[in-house]
Symmetry: C2
Subunit: 253 residues, 2 copies
DNA sequence: CGTTGGGTTGAGATTGGTCAAAATGGGTGG
DNA sequence: CCACCCATTTTGACCAATCTCAACCCAACG
């Protein structure tokens, strides 16, 4: 069950448009061209695969409501999420130029996607080179996020990983207007999901959360995460928002 | 000291052109335009920073000879490599559209780079949209590689991580013609470097290598890695080369 | 030769994993 | 409104992979 009030169809301005406007540095004409591509909606229940690892993808998905994740599955059942997706995120840019996905997208809650035809998007890119640049930029930002998360997986403690993740989610959700105040968000995911993002065990996530709570770094009840002192959480985790590139695309000048 | 015989300047066809030709699906005209950008060379000694995390980058580096790595440094000295770079690899595509690098590139051996002016590359992209698509594709492939390595960091044992890395290097170096036979490569890096790629300690890398040697999965002497039975190593590590996308860019048709 | 940068080894500490059971809590059907 | 069910969270006891620290070795090189 999604935890956001209004169905995405009715949201005045959807979070993807919001991101485009605030980050992409496009003209109204180009934004309109992209908006025109996003007419089709798809609703998917929680815990389903959106794209699986196979087949030449013909559609790009943009998450408008709910939470999803990019996942890599091992044959023996191990799972690692490479990204948490929140409203406004493109799920599978790579589908544009890659033959086969090598990681899938799964919903964590009920989700609403905008489904964009790959062929049409390519047409728009040809008509408006700046749109192509924005797509490349999105790919680069993802790169940056993957790199950062990788550093955390490789070198950070459980405590740092979880704290860092929370800082990131706070920043991202705030950016698309889904934070409540400046330090509280809805976190409609289970501890098992957290474990698949952070590369830990559910049990260890649980214990680590308890420590964070005991240190009063977070308050986490039900699906609501509150951070009493964001700066302190950032310090504990070494989080700095630079890698999210919330200051937008670099102009070509 | 680079371990490859001929200085890159004298190599008949450089590994980057080779990759472009085999992967990018470009016409001769476009390839020529790119080649024309790659006239400037830069030689850098081992263990130096090529790009650091700051400043609006004005140049893109393509590695022609030697080994390098993308790295993320923690304030307290911890380090994680997010990618090993071998000849033919672009070091910093993101420089095109990103304001500030959030991870640096460091040389592991003496290196030769082709230095491409960002402005000129953007001009070529404008003139030939297909070149822009290839750049995006490169970014997507990197994404895919990061995702895979991330899954290994999050969920694989030390043994699997190292074995997987070796499989990957074998495949990549073979692709640019730097493997000797089909199962031997030069590995001009220290165990400490391996530890920074795999998120382990140098000591543990050492012990794990010994196990791999004892199991006759690898032979590793000096800086030469030989894999007696590549299939077995792939099996042990769960490696499949799909994520490297060595079958090239997807055509737009 | 002496120095130095890897590589190797050992002993002991720790973080995080495993397995299994118990508690909690929201949602559903009666 | 209650009883039950399931998923999720929490707890406990124990274990294993990996880390830490420190020493030692060895080959390359000045």
């Amino acid at each position: 069950m999604s935890s956001f009030a209004a169905p995405a169809d009715k949201v005045a301005i959807n979070p993807f448009s919001l991101k485009l406007r605030r980050l992409a540095g496009l003209g109204e004409q180009e934004i309109a061209a992209i908006d025109a591509l996003c007419h089709e909606r798809r609703h998917i229940a929680a815990n389903r695969e959106v794209t699986s690892e196979s087949a030449e993808p013909e559609h790009i998905h943009v998450l408008l409501d709910g939470w999803a994740a990019r996942q890599k599955l091992f044959p023996d059942g191990r799972r690692q999420f490479s990204a948490l997706l929140v409203p406004g995120d493109i799920c599978d840019v790579d589908g544009l130029f890659i033959r086969r996905y090598d990681c899938g997208v799964a919903t964590l809650t009920a989700c609403t996607f905008a489904v964009i035809s790959r062929a049409e998007l390519l047409r728009v890119i040809n008509a408006f080179p700046a749109v192509g640049h924005v797509i490349t930029w999105f790919a680069c930002v993802e790169n940056s996020m993957l790199t950062t998360r990788m550093a955390m997986l490789g070198r950070a403690s459980a405590r740092e990983r979880i704290a860092h993740l929370f800082c990131e989610l706070l920043a991202r959700l705030q950016f698309v207007g889904l934070a409540d105040g400046d330090s509280t968000i809805q976190l409609p995911i289970t501890q098992e999901t957290l474990s698949d993002v952070t590369g830990l065990t559910p049990v260890h996530v649980n214990r680590t959360l308890q420590v964070l709570r005991a240190n009063e770094l977070i308050r986490l009840e039900g699906h609501r995460l509150a951070v009493p002192d964001p700066d302190r959480l950032r310090q504990v985790s070494g989080f700095s928002p630079d890698y999210l590139h919330l200051d937008g695309i670099r102009q070509r000048a």
